[in-house]
Amino acid sequence: MHQKTLSELAAALADGSLGSVELTEHYLARIAAHDGELNSFITVTQESALQAARAADAARAAGRAGPLTGLPIAHKDIFCTEGLRTSCGSRMLDNFVSPYDAHVVSALKSAGTVMLGKTNMDEFAMGSSNETSFYGAVKNPWNATRVPGGSSGGSAAAVAARLAPAATGTDTGGSIRQPAALTGITGLKPTYGRVSRYGMIAFASSLDQGGPMAQSAEDCALLLGAMAGFDARDSTSLQREVPDYRAALNDSLDGLRIGLPKEYFGEGLDDAIASAVTSAVAELEKLGASVVEISLPNQGLAVPVYYVVAPAEASANLSRFDGVRFGHRCDDPADLEDLYKRSRGEGFGAEVKRRIMVGTYALSAGYYDAYYLKAQQARQLISRDFSEAFEQVDLIAGPATPSTAFGIGEKTDDPVAMYLNDLYTIAANLAGLPGISLPCGSSAGLPIGLQLVGRHFDEARLLNVAHRYQQVSDWHRRMPAAFQ
């Protein structure tokens, strides 16, 4: 049952060969049996999942089922879920029971999905390895000594081990695409403004986007259709019609122009990854696409720009965690300042504190122009590189990560070494562009991801190209033997 993709499960539910209760019980049993090894879930919602599954089966019997009715999924613990702990991977929110549902949660609930639980993540989405979580590291199902990537490491590991057929994630600098690449699944970061951020705990407000993580592009298309759309409750939500992502999946690739940035293939990239990506692009050529070399001259600035902009925005967003209205409060505060400082000092882990301090420094009087303003100007240049490239090509292809999954503990002492894991993914967030990572190879038993970046609001095209590739390859169908 768990070898089936979300789309295949949807078909089985539709033709009556499977019921939602049976399916949900199956995944809950898998979580109980296997998640001890992975630590991919923070909260498992057994009772409410079964209740939702029963309701889904009843809706189907009454002729009221939609394409997502009865499908079990997991939500990254960054999405507020009414009446349920929403921890954001942090001690700060370990006691936080959300009074409301995030848009992504309510949209997928209305569509009839069944929530299995909340997945583990790097604390406040700050990390590339899921090692900063208050709830402990998540293991990569392909090799338990390796990281699954981050910050959506729990969602990635759960889907890769088929403890859930699909999950939601968020991506600020690569947090959907990088863990998808390291665990061999398909993950999409939509265009900035495509998916409402209402109820999605904010890290960096000009960069954050929620998106689907699943076994295939077809699965992601199914989920994105329910997640995307204008929401007045998110002031950055953009008014754009939501296309039928599934209808476009089988479009021809004739005439598609793909660009390969020369800056992506320099030193620092694993040979095995360069080779797998090149082979995957060759497959796309066979399917009708043409490939040209392009240049993104300011690509080298992406990581430095991000590590000013994201921490600056985070320092503002995380100032709401003050021990006053919700979340962790220290014991016996002596005065208000002590309340703030100790609640925050105790509630936040080291990486979060580091980033808050970098951001505070970059925004402080005397440093704002040199750091934040400068970074925003560099951001403009990075964005312009993409606009210019998209005059010559329709899609940009390349690796999702510089290496396959690294060892747990290998990069935790050196923040900058950790940050460089996002070097291929960050620029798309800075420019607000949609990006997808899909599996295209393997090296020493560890998955390799191909990344495709498209024009604003061109998710349909990304999903189409990924789907066509997945029709002539089977990397996306592989799963680690230990979890079969």
Binding site: S235, L301, R325, V358, Q377, R379, Q380, L381
Partner: protein
């Protein structure tokens, strides 16, 4: 830019973060290495380049200045550490 311990303490104060004395040098080191990464931007010529605040150049959407939300104070205060008569309790601020 290499940060000294006293600068770390200043920044931690601005951010209202309690940092143990023995942890200050560690943060000074890691913050310094992050700032070294970021200083690659210094060499960049950005004369005449507009700073980009929003990736799609959008501006803040406005709405009519009329009440549109329900008052759900009780529901939202259910998760508060300390409330009384609808107010959040904190240590005395005004003598």
């Amino acid at each position: 830019m290499s940060l000294q311990d006293d600068q770390v303490r200043s920044i931690a104060h601005l951010a209202r973060l309690a940092i143990a004395d023995e942890d200050v040098p560690g943060y000074a080191e890691s913050l310094s290495s992050i700032l070294a990464l970021v200083e690659q931007l210094d060499a960049l010529d950005t004369a005449g380049v507009e700073p980009m605040a929003h990736p799609l150049h959008a501006t803040q959407r406005l709405r009519e200045d009329v009440v549109s939300e329900e008052n759900l104070r009780e529901q939202y205060q259910a998760c508060a550490p300390a409330v009384e008569d609808g107010l959040y309790l904190v240590p005395r601020v005004i003598e």
